[in-house]
């Protein structure tokens, strides 16, 4: 492929933008080897691409810089402390599991609590209704005694 055809094919642009396949990358490499005049074109193209994207720049909020500074400081600090102590690096692992694990003895304990709560509930209801009926009986006897006394 002639240099001009290669330039016009747009492979260099797609290579610089990260849109090329492995074969195209290899093609660029071979063409760069074959024709050194392409280097000047690539330099100009890089300048154009940079100019284009610089013209569309947007200033990010200042907080972003502080966060990046903090992150890079942390990374540096971790790296230095690991180098000093010779410790292995720990990876931050995010756990998405919503379950908790408890000892197996908790199972009979939960069952016992459940059974006891049912027993107390039934007993409570039994004694409640029993005392209510006793009070009714007492009231009935009282009225009977009063009627007899009259």
């Amino acid at each position: 492929m002639k240099t001009q055809d290669f330039i016009e094919s747009g492979i260099l642009e797609s290579q610089l933008l990260g849109l090329t396949s492995k074969e195209e990358k290899e093609q660029v490499r071979l063409m760069m080897l074959a024709d050194r005049s392409l280097e000047n074109y690539v330099i100009d193209l890089e300048a154009d691409i940079r100019k284009y994207f610089t013209s569309e720049s947007v200033s990010p909020p200042t907080a972003v810089r502080e966060l990046i500074e903090l992150k890079s400081f942390k990374e540096k600090h971790n790296f230095n402390s690991d180098n000093r102590t010779g410790r292995t690096q720990y990876l931050d692992v995010e756990v998405n599991d919503t379950h908790i694990k408890v000892h197996k003895f908790w199972r009979p304990a939960f069952i016992a609590v459940f059974v006891l709560s049912k027993i107390f509930l039934i007993a409570g209801l039994y004694y409640y209704f029993k005392s209510a009926s006793q009070q009714e009986e007492l009231l009935r006897l009282k009225t009977q005694i009063e009627q007899v006394n009259r």
């Binding site: 330039i7 016009e8 094919s9 747009g10 492979i11 260099l12 642009e13 797609s14 610089l16 933008l17 990260g18 849109l19 490499r29 760069m32 080897l33 050194r36 280097e39 690539v42 330099i43 193209l45 890089e46 154009d48 691409i49 940079r50 284009y52 994207f53 610089t54 569309e56 720049s57 947007v58 200033s59 990010p60 909020p61 972003v64 810089r65 966060l67 990046i68 500074e69 992150k71 890079s72 990374e75």
Partner: protein
């Protein structure tokens, strides 16, 4: 030794301009932060998401590899910002599917449209070619035309 230095094998003209060497994340951010944020916003218009992506770009270990990138640091940052933003956009669209509404632009396969689809929408040149019913070489040629027209403006 980087890719182009290997190509040049230490002889003849210097490899492609590479003025920025071994910069720290903050130095790179001060230099290219606004440019990267502009690129990310073009792909992800939501400012809070764009800012998260921007932070991930400049705290990414991949940024260090730009020091040995064969082309300029700016181009490496452009590629990295785009790839991170496209990745975030894909994750976002996987959660909240958005209908592809390219019907209006499908008629015109102008270099601008093709560049938008490939760079901003995150489609590969093959996918763009399929969408617009043109060949991949035409897609690549459109990139050249796009920057050529920009140069002439």
């Amino acid at each position: 030794m980087n890719e182009l230095e290997r190509i040049n094998n230490g002889a003849g003209p210097q490899p492609v301009a590479k003025l920025d060497s071994n910069l720290s994340s903050l130095e790179v951010y001060d230099k290219f932060g606004a440019m990267a944020y502009g690129i990310i916003l073009q792909i992800l218009p939501q400012p809070h998401l764009a800012q998260e992506v921007l932070i991930s770009v400049f705290s990414s270990p991949q940024l260090r590899s730009c020091n040995s990138y064969p082309f300029s640091f700016a181009v490496c940052v452009i590629k990295l910002a785009r790839s991170k933003a496209v990745e975030a956009k894909k994750k976002l669209t996987a959660l909240v599917p958005v209908d592809d509404d390219y019907s209006a632009s499908l008629d015109s396969s102008s270099p601008q449209t093709i560049f938008d689809l490939a760079f901003r929408q995150g489609f590969t040149p093959d996918e763009v070619a399929g969408k617009l019913n043109i060949s991949k070489s035409e897609v690549l040629r459109s990139f050249h035309e796009f920057f050529k027209s920009y140069r002439n403006v």
